[in-house]
Amino acid sequence: MALLELKGVASYYGNVQALKGLSLHVNQGELVTLLGANGAGKSTTLKTISGLVQPAQGEVWFEGRPIHRLGPEAIAKLGISHVPEGRRIFPGLTVRENIMLGTSTRGRLPRAQMADEVEQMFAIFPEIKKFENALGWTLSGGQQQMLAVARGLMARPKLLLLDEPSLGLAPLIVQNLFGTIREIRSLGTTILLVEQNANMALSVADRGYVLETGSLTVEGTPQDLLDNEEVRAAYLGGHHG
């Protein structure tokens, strides 16, 4: 049974239909990537899963139960952690505080355990350790992205939704970040990764979907997608050379 399943989901953004009968699934332990151009509906897909957008039609199932009528708070409590596009760091809170708030779904943690888990995050993202008492808005884009992922991981999610983690980052930082994503996945977290950087995404994914104006066009293993002429043309920079 799939950990997450979307069945014929249609979502609207105002009067614009962003998703048109989308169906996809993510199995336990998988890293699945959702590719597509700007405006294809990738972010809306994640927002529909995490409850920020309610689907007009269709169903979202998580661990064998429907969740599409639940609010974001309730869905977060079920173990879905959404790291949205734009990082959405709390600008007026420190790096440490931002990370700590990631545990909000887990009830009250003993002080020592909290400190311990924050340190674990700094072990994964050593670059932000030295800014632990700096306010969120003072970080660079790459640091904010690391902080956003760290905050998302503090929920100990069963499913991590990552929205364009590479957006606006320097190539070297993207390399590092994807190394970390691979690491997180190897620790057993299931990941649904939305990316425009198709090459990077496919290098870490088990499976991929290609989304085009609200519906899926192609699905398969990274190799299938890499071999697909249309996918190559649209997202991987040119035809077979």
Binding site: G71, P84, L93, G102, S104, A155
Partner: protein, 294 residues
Amino acid sequence: MQVLFDNLQVLFQGLALGSIYSLVALGFVLIIRATNVVNFAQGDFAMLGAYSMVLFFTGLGWPYWVSFVGALAAMAVFGVIFNYGVYYPLRHRSFLPVVISTLGASIFLQNTVLAVFGPQPRPLEKVLAADGVNIGGVFLDSQYLVILAVTLALVLFTYLFFEHTLLGKKLQATSQDKDMARLLGIPVALMISITFIYSAVLGGIAGVLVGPILFVSIGMGSIIALKAFAATIIGGFGDVTGAIVGGLLLGVIESMAAYHISVPYKDAYAFLALFIFLLFRPSGIFGEKVSEKA
């Protein structure tokens, strides 16, 4: 020498009066930060707190401290009712409907109290029986001393609560980015409820404390709220420290000007100060350049 003493005396009274403005202004700012809405019924929280005190202490004859705690408990309950009755149903609407809703609530509250208690202003006991102390020619009224001490304690408590507890951080997170807070599983509706409770209790305390000085009346909240609102602008709109400093400053300006220039224009000085700030430093003392929130 006497001139110095007199000025110190006026400064002391100004700070005490300013403390009341600070407490109400703090309530303003906490709600502005949590909901992006100016609560025009903020002053009526003070009025309601004072009337609860009149009801419990004068009306029902409860002991003073029981009445005080009762009045604060009543304000806490009222904060929840206010949230769900006035703000919550309109939370997805723009700024304006909510502001109008709080204005309506203000009119409703004042007239309800008028219907129950009548138009006659009510006296209220001071917190301490003692008159006050005389230090080297400066008379420190006990009620003013209590106001200063309570305000100091509340400011300290507010600081510790917001800066050193996880709940305080969740409240801050809620005011900074509600959708992100919800994605992290922070119960945003509860956080906003807590803000209204806290804000109502702060207003209630201000009302109970200022009651013995101003008399308890239907309109007491309106004038305090106007001053407190001016204080939030002078301090820097939406800034917590600014609200406290702005309130104190306004109290001192008002008292000093009344003493040195003319008493009948007492209320005008506060607004004159507001004009001057709006003209020359609209961002206030602590304010950054405010950009319109999306």
